[in-house]
Symmetry: D2
Subunit: 388 residues, 4 copies
Amino acid sequence: MNGNRFGRLFQFTTYGESHGEAMGVTVSGCPAGVELDEETIQRDLDRRKPGQSMITTSRGEPDKVKLNSGTQDGYTTGTPIGMVIQNKDARSGKYEPFVTAPRPSHGDFTYSAKFGTRNWGGGGRSSARETVNWVAAGAVAKQVLAASEYDVEIKAHVNQIGDIEAPDVSFEEILEHSEENEVRCAHPETAEKMRDRIDEYQKAGDSIGGSIYFEAHGVPRGLGAPRFDSFPSRLGRAMFSIPATTAFEFGLGKDAREWTGHDRNEDWQFDEDGDPTPVGNKHGGLQGGITTGQPIWGEATWHAPTSIPKEQTTVDWETGEEKQVQVVGRHDPVLPPRAVPVVEAMLYVTVLDFMLLGGRINPERIDDRPGEYDTDYHPRSPANMDEE
Amino acid sequence: MNGNRFGRLFQFTTYGESHGEAMGVTVSGCPAGVELDEETIQRDLDRRKPGQSMITTSRGEPDKVKLNSGTQDGYTTGTPIGMVIQNKDARSGKYEPFVTAPRPSHGDFTYSAKFGTRNWGGGGRSSARETVNWVAAGAVAKQVLAASEYDVEIKAHVNQIGDIEAPDVSFEEILEHSEENEVRCAHPETAEKMRDRIDEYQKAGDSIGGSIYFEAHGVPRGLGAPRFDSFPSRLGRAMFSIPATTAFEFGLGKDAREWTGHDRNEDWQFDEDGDPTPVGNKHGGLQGGITTGQPIWGEATWHAPTSIPKEQTTVDWETGEEKQVQVVGRHDPVLPPRAVPVVEAMLYVTVLDFMLLGGRINPERIDDRPGEYDTDYHPRSPANMDEE
Amino acid sequence: MNGNRFGRLFQFTTYGESHGEAMGVTVSGCPAGVELDEETIQRDLDRRKPGQSMITTSRGEPDKVKLNSGTQDGYTTGTPIGMVIQNKDARSGKYEPFVTAPRPSHGDFTYSAKFGTRNWGGGGRSSARETVNWVAAGAVAKQVLAASEYDVEIKAHVNQIGDIEAPDVSFEEILEHSEENEVRCAHPETAEKMRDRIDEYQKAGDSIGGSIYFEAHGVPRGLGAPRFDSFPSRLGRAMFSIPATTAFEFGLGKDAREWTGHDRNEDWQFDEDGDPTPVGNKHGGLQGGITTGQPIWGEATWHAPTSIPKEQTTVDWETGEEKQVQVVGRHDPVLPPRAVPVVEAMLYVTVLDFMLLGGRINPERIDDRPGEYDTDYHPRSPANMDEE
Amino acid sequence: MNGNRFGRLFQFTTYGESHGEAMGVTVSGCPAGVELDEETIQRDLDRRKPGQSMITTSRGEPDKVKLNSGTQDGYTTGTPIGMVIQNKDARSGKYEPFVTAPRPSHGDFTYSAKFGTRNWGGGGRSSARETVNWVAAGAVAKQVLAASEYDVEIKAHVNQIGDIEAPDVSFEEILEHSEENEVRCAHPETAEKMRDRIDEYQKAGDSIGGSIYFEAHGVPRGLGAPRFDSFPSRLGRAMFSIPATTAFEFGLGKDAREWTGHDRNEDWQFDEDGDPTPVGNKHGGLQGGITTGQPIWGEATWHAPTSIPKEQTTVDWETGEEKQVQVVGRHDPVLPPRAVPVVEAMLYVTVLDFMLLGGRINPERIDDRPGEYDTDYHPRSPANMDEE
C-alpha cells in the first residue's frame, strides 16, 4: 500500500532517499540455514553501483552493505534480515534551482502534488538510487535458490538502446557476455555501437531510452495462482515498479496481436522421459498465468533519463515565472545498463516467492549448514523430532 | 496470494469456474451512501456477456446478477457487497477428449501440474468467463466515482486485430464509437475491416490476436505510492491478470526506447489558472509512478484464443499416445472485443482504490442519499456529531 | 482492512447482513484433492443454526449451504470455494422503533457514526448471524486437516454462564459431552444449572454473559512466526472478531500475573522417544508465541446479549426525545452455547493457515482422491512429472 | 505473515536480535509534514531502555536511535522512515550452557523446532529487546496524532504485580503518577509494595507476573471495520504480539460473563450538545467492534519472566542427558514496568492506523510545517492546485 514492500512469503521492505543518510532494506521470510554474508550481497551491489564507467553517473558511492540481523555464523536464522547501505556522496546543493521548480518529466511535480513537500535533494525517494535495496534483497533470494534443490538461473542483457537493436542471442551467450561490457549487451559488436550512440547523446547533453531482455531457466512448472496472482501479474507489477519502465511483455508480447491461434499454439508431445512437453516456447514459459517449466522470457522498456544538461523550460512557483534550466547533476545518460541487476533481482525475488508459496521450498529452513550446525548432527534436537 | 482478490481499500474477491454452478464476487470497502442496484451492474455485464454477435462464443449465458448484500433501499451500506451470477449453459461433455490430454497452449497442462487435477469442464477457473465478476466489481467502482465530486471517465477501444491497425482517434471518438460495432473499434471503417478479418480466421477454424487502447480522464494528480505501489505497477498487475494478456505499456510505451530525453521530456508552463502544467502528454499521465492529472493512456495486447477447431496435436496421458484434436466448443475467435469492458472495469477499480488510499474519497461514506436517508436530515444522528 | 477477510494462505471472505438476501463466504487457498460436499459443511452449520432449543433465538433459518464453486465430483479443485446461505426468515418490521434510535449497547450507534446510515434490519452486518459464514469456512478447514497426515482435533465447551462455573473437565469429557446438551457444557450437572439460570434471566426479559474453554490437540510444534504473526497474536485477533467477545486468554491467562517464574516454568525432560518434552502444560501449548506440540488451551468471554425485552431508555434523533424501549425481536438470551461452533471454526482455520504457512501441508494439493482421480493413476500426467 | 510487520496504512516493519548488530524499524505510511527528529523518538526509547533501575536488567544499552530516512529539515516527507538502534552490550558467552539445551518455558525449544537452528545469543529474535523498535514506531505515531486536529491521549500503568493489586485510579492520576516510580504504578503506595515484592522475588532468584491497565482518550467514534478488522480484533492482535502476554480484555473483560444484559447495557441520553451519549462506559469505548468516542480501556497480563537464576532442570540434546541449570544472564524480574511504553506504543499505532483508514487524517500530508515550508506559502505549487 505504501510502495516500499514487495513479495508475500519472501518479502522485502525498503527505505531511503537519494540524498538521505542511508538506504535500508529488511528481508522477511527468508528460510533458516542459508549461507549468507556481506561479501555475497556486495558482489551484486557492485554490479549496480554508480561510477562504474563513463556511461553511468559519476556519483562516488561505495554502496557497502552492512548486515544488521538475521544471520549467525554465516547462515540465515529464519528471522528478518536487516541491511543498511550508507549514502556517502550526496551533494544536494546542485539541485537548488529546482526547489521551487519541477524538472521536466521528472517526479518533482507529482511528489509535490502528493506530499505537499518541495521535492529537493537528488529526487529524494523517486531516485533510482533506491533500487540498491532491491538488488540486496535479490542477492538474498538468489542465495536461497542456490541452497535449494532447484537449479534456477536468471540472466538479462540490454537488447536495444535508441535505434540500435541487438540480434537474438542464446541464453549461453547472455550468461557469457552480458557482464563483459559496460552497456551489458550480450552481443559484443552491438554493445560497441550502443556505447558509441550513448556517448553521442551524452556529449549533446541529452539521454536515450532502451530495453532489456531476460530469461529465467529452471523455474519449476505449476507456479502462479490463477488471475490476480498469476506469474505474469506479479512479474508485471515487479517490472513496472522499476523507475522509468514504460512497457513490459513476455513471450511473443506485443507481436502476439499479429499471430493466429494456430501459428502461435504449440502442440504437445512426450519427451524422452515420457512427460508431456510443448513443441517450442513462444508462450514464454507461461500458460494460463502459470509456469510450464519452460524458460520464462520477456522484455521491458525504459524511457530516457529525464535529468539532462540540455536546456529546458520550467516554471518557478515561488517567482511565478517560467525559466530556462539545465539539470547538471551526476546522472546516467541511459538506464538499462544499470537496470540489468535490478531486473534480475526482481526476477529472483518473484521466482523464490512463488516457490515458497507453491510449497517447492520449505518456508522455515533449508538444511544447508555443515558440521555441528547441521540439524542431522543432533538427532535429539527439536528440529529432528517426528511429528505425530 | 490466492489469485482471486484485487484492490486494497476497494477490494473484490471472486470465485467460479466456467462450467460450475455460479460465478460470485464480493466487493469490500465500498463507501456507504452510493446509489446501486442490480440494473446498474447488469448494464455492464450485458456488454461483456457471450453470444452478443457472430464473433463471440455462442454460449447462451444471460449473466443475470443477483445482489445478495451491501445495499438498503438502493444505496450501499458500507458493508460487503455480495453478488452471484448463475451459470446456465455449461455443457462439459464437449471437452471430454481433453480430460486426459491438454489442449495446446491452454491452461490445461499448467493447472494439472499445479493442482494435480484433471482439468476438464470448460477450462474451469482458467476460463475468461471468470471476468464477469470483475465487470460487476468495476460497475460498483464506477458508481462510487460517479457519486464522488470527481469526474472520472474511462473508455477503451480495440485498436488492432491481427495486422489491421486503427488510426489514432480522439477520446471523444472513442466515447462515441467504441460501442457502436461488435468489434468495439472506435474507427468505424477499421472496425469493418477487423470484422472481415476475424470472419476469415473463424471460417478457417483459427483465431487471431489483438490489442486495446484506453484513456482515463479526470484522475486527480498525486495518486500512486512510490515504487511497488506506483500507479503503473498496480495497473500492470491488473492488466496482466486478464487472461491471455502478453504485453502492457503506457504513454510512449515500447517506443520510448527510441526517444531521447530531450525529445520525450515535456516543459512545464503555467496554465490559464496559474497552475504548472506539462506541455503535452507523452508521459501518459504518469511521472515518477504518480498521476500528473493529465489523461492516463496506454495499451495492452492479447494473444489469439488457444481454443480452435483447426486440427492440432496433443498427448493423452491415459493412453500414452499422441492424438490429433479439434477444440470444437463455443469459443471466441478473438479476445479484445469482449475484453474492452474488462479493461475498463480494472481501470475503474484501480483508480477508485488509489483515490480512497490517497484520501480523495471518504472511505466510509459518500452522502449521496436523498430525502430522509440524507445524513443532514437528522442533525442529531451520530453521523452528524462533531468530533472533538 | 475491510473486516470481512480472515486468514493468509487459507483465507475466507464474507458478506451478508442479518436481514439481507443471503449470507456468503468465499474460501481461497484450499488445497486440491480434499473430499468436500454440501452435507459435510451442513453438519457444522446445523450446530450453529438458530431455533435449536428454547435458549436460542426462535428465528426459523434452515441455513442450507449452496456450494457454487471449487469442487468437482466431491473433491476440491484448488480454486476458490464459493458458498451461499439464503436468508429465509428476516422480519425487519420488528425493529422499527430503532430506525432513528440506537438500542442500548448495541452496534446501532457506532455503525451509524461510521457509515452515516440509519442502521435497521436486524442489526445488519453487526448481527452474529454473520458467523454462519465462518462456520462454513471452518468446516472446509476441518476437512483439509482430516485429509492431511496430521491428526488435529479441536473442541470447545461452555465453562461458565453468569455465576455458574463448571469444574475442570478432561478433553475426553469435552469430546463426549459438550454436544449432549443445549448449553454445550461438557459437565452434565453444571449444564443443568446453567440451563436453569438462563431460563430465569430469559423469563425476566434479561440476558446473561458467559465463557468458553477450548483445547486443540495434535497441532505440530514450530507453528507461528515471531511477534505480530505469533500464534497467540493471530488467535487473539480471531477471538476478538467474534461478536461480543470481551476477554481472551491462553494457558494460565489472567492468573499468570500471580505466579512466580519458578512455579510457572516447566522443566524439560526426554520422553520415551528421547525427545525433549516439557513437564506440564501451564504454558498452554505456546512458548515464545510458537507452538510446542502440547495441546493449546484457553478461554474467551462473551458479554450478555444487548438485545433484551426489559425496558431501557434511548434517544430518538428524529424526535429529539428520550424514549423507553423494549427489544422484542428473536434474540439469544446467552451467546456461548451458539458460539462454541464458531470458536472451533476459527481455531480450525487458524491452525490450518499456520500449517500451510509452515510448510506442514502442501498448499496446492493433498492427494486424497481415490480411483482414477488419484494422481498416481496417470503416471504421465503433469501432476507426476519430476522436477529437475 | 512473517511476524515483523504491524499496521495497514500506518505500518512498521522490524528486524533485530537481542545479541545481533543492531535493531531496526521501517515506518511506512507516515503522512508528510509532521515534525519529527531523533530527540523526540529518543524520549520514548529512554522510557523503555534497560538499566533504568534495580528492577530491570542491568544490560547497558544506550538505545540511541539513528534516523536514516523519511525526514527533511525536521519534518516528515511522506516516504518511509528508517531507524536503526545499535546493540552495544551483547554478551553471548553467558548463554553457552543453553546452546544445546532449552531454557525452561523460554522460546528456545520452539524456535529450534521451527527454524532448525540452535538458538543462542540472548534469545535471538524472541527477546523482548525487539520491542525497542515498536516504541520507536509508536513515537512516530504519537507525533502524527499530535500534528492532527485530534487530541488523542493514551496512558498505561502497572495495576498488579503478583498478588499486589492497585486500587482503581483516575486517568488524571495515571497521567500524573505512572512515570514517577520505577514500577510504573500510578498509585504511589501500591508502587512501594510492588517494588518490595519484586525485590523479594529477585533476591530469591525468581521472577513474578503482573498486569497493565490502559486508557485511550480522544479517539473519535466510528473507527473499526466490522469483524476481522474490528478495533478489539486489531488491538487483541497487538497485545498478544508483546512477548509473554497471556491475557487481554477490554471494558468489563472477563468479568462480563457474570453480568446480565440489563445491568451491563447503558442507556442513551442526549448530552448538552444534543448528541446521543451512553450513560457510562462499562463497554470500554467499543460497541459492535467500533469506537463510541468514549475512552477505550482495558488490561493485559504478562507471565513471569522465564529466565531466572533459580535452579531448574533441562535436557541437553548433545549429551542426551538431563542437567540442572541457572539462567544467570541480565534479565528483568518482572515485565510490566518496562512493557508500559510498549503497550502505549501499540495503542498509538493502532489508533492512528484506524484514523487513517477511516479518513480522519489525510494519509498523504498534515500541513504542520511553518514558514516557507508551509504549503500555503506557495499558492502556485502543485500542493495547492485545485482538483477538478
